[in-house]
Subunit: 350 residues, 2 copies
């Protein structure tokens, strides 16, 4: 049981409490999902107990988790209902808002504060059967949506409009929504890897980067493909082939390689082709409930990528002011990396 | 200029730095919007300077803000690039993730940490002309979508499916998306005010609560109406009328009343009708870039609601295991409360 495993790890860290916010960690441990909000809602795990502190309006909903709830009404001071040992050592959710941590510090004067992810990320990085099958279903929905969306890629349509069409397809095909606001950039905008979309109209013969993912049963997908109306220039083609080679190389990484090694499989290809300085981000990241989670496939990560992990491989080359290219698949580690995506890896010419 | 106003407030609090995460505060001050992520991206404001600390992949995008950026590459230690005075007094974004606050504490040993909202919420609570007009446009889109969505409310359709249809309408009508995952509950599920939706199928003659909002140009809307296929029971009707009376009463609150007073205008009506213990949340909340922001219309808030503020008025009655009713409009304070919504306040019988 997941809470029990966490408790074993808490013991090793000599922690008295782990305090989690609504979000992925709480969902992972209890099945209860909610966004973080301005009202404190914590899942608190101690050596021998676990309970929620929650606004009264969640009381009935939380009963389903079978975990005890200390509830407070709007207008009451939630912290006065909590009895935590003063001077204890605590692990807090990485994403817990600072407004709550400041209150916890002021009210309970912890002697030590660490990130709860130190323990939870180890558990969450290894996916179980059910998680894998949910994520595979999510990818199916995402890819089906992408293929349907290609029909709408036409000259003159604004980027954001196109992104919306793709997101509508997600829902039509049974997703709960997107896992992140779609990145859909065209022409020179493609050199900004994290720009979402603008009102720029799509032209013929230019790269369009589509970086998209669905949320399905609280799990995330993340995939990137390049689309173009008609052929792209020789320059773009050349860069595309380099990125593709890098992507495939890292995707074929093996069990127990360090994350850094897998990163280097992609980075070396790009560097050797002379584009090293234009590959301005890591090669990938773990994915599960959160879009970004452990293991991070980056140049400085010495952790080993082991069986059961799911992560993205998404090298890119970005020439400022000109264009960018990125290709991204989700990969499951099972002796060697196995892509979970089935979309072809070439440019989608429409 | 907004940054200048913030600096004046920082001086009063004797703060050396304000450190903001990506999100609503940063958008308010700079026009740059991004979700918070695992890579540190901070907007830092000192007495005489402002700058971003950001991953290199945001460099080109951030140039548009005209604010200097200290950038770092994946694999570099972002905190080593920052020179903040040790032992300084800082204000941090309420929503800054704890993982970053812990790093800031460890690296710069601040002598004092407060919530940046202490200053920013005062600025953000009063909307300017452009904000008001953007929010009005958002409401138009939300209401148009709701009215179109009514055609799909039919016997046997599952709650979540209906919620998705409404969210598709948002996008078709020009919204960027939803401002929060739609709450759409039916029958006994309506007694849980913050349950989102389930696969329960809609029946005739039962209340359906639809609590919905769009995101438009980074601003939020938030509205609740009750829908039913055919008539509802006398019990439900009776409770509905009480909630409606309470809603109208608080909506008519006047300039410079305390938030508590406005809350009580609704609460008294419900209490006098004998349902006080079933009104388990505050009467409303400010709204703007965030769905929930100052002023909170709650029993313990002594702040005054002044001209230029926009907030929701959304009393509710929730009878556990039976049903719940909530009615919510957005209200603009201009001498007295003026509803920004134009949907009628009765049950929508389809």
């Amino acid at each position: 049981m997941r809470v029990k495993k966490l408790r074993d790890l808490m013991e090793k860290e000599a922690l008295d409490y782990v305090i989690l916010s609504p979000g992925s960690n709480t969902f992972y441990l209890t099945g209860f999902f909610e966004e973080q909000m301005e009202r404190p809602l914590f899942l608190i795990i101690s050596k021998d107990d676990e309970f929620f502190l929650a606004p009264k309006l969640y009381e009935e909903q939380l009963e389903k988790t079978k975990i005890a709830t200390i509830s407070y009404e709007d207008g009451e001071n939630p912290y006065s209902k909590l009895t935590l040992k003063t001077g204890s050592s605590i692990g807090v959710d990485d994403q817990l808002w600072s407004v709550f941590l400041i209150q916890i510090i002021n009210n309970f004067k912890p002697s030590k504060i660490i990130e709860a992810s130190k323990m939870l990320r180890k558990l969450r990085a290894i996916k179980d059967e059910q998680e894998i099958s949910t994520m595979k279903e999510g990818i199916k929905i995402a890819e089906k949506s992408f293929l349907q969306f290609l029909d709408y890629v036409t000259e003159g349509i604004p980027e954001c409009k196109l992104a919306n069409i793709l997101e509508e397809k997600f829902i039509e095909n049974g997703a709960d929504g997107y896992s992140f606001k779609t990145i859909l950039t065209s022409g020179p905008n493609t050199s900004m890897p994290h720009l979402r979309c603008t009102d720029r109209k799509i032209n013929r013969n230019e790269p369009i980067i589509v970086d998209f993912g669905v949320k399905y049963k609280n799990y995330s997908t993340d995939t990137t493909r390049v689309v173009s109306i008609g052929n792209v220039s020789e320059d773009v083609k050349k860069v595309y082939e380099i990125v593709k080679e890098a992507q495939i190389s890292a995707e074929n990484g093996e069990e127990n390689m360090t994350a850094m090694k897998i990163d280097s499989l992609a980075r070396e290809k790009i560097t050797m082709a002379g584009y090293g300085k234009f590959f301005i981000h890591r090669t990938g990241h773990g994915i599960g409930i959160d879009v970004h989670e452990d293991p991070y496939i980056s140049q400085d990560n010495l952790e080993r990528v082991t069986n059961g992990m799911i992560f993205t491989v998404e090298p890119g080359i970005y020439v400022p002011g000109k264009f960018g290219i990125r290709i991204e698949d989700m990969v499951f580690m099972e002796k060697r990396g196995k892509p979970l995506n089935s979309l072809e890896k070439n440019i989608f010419i429409v």
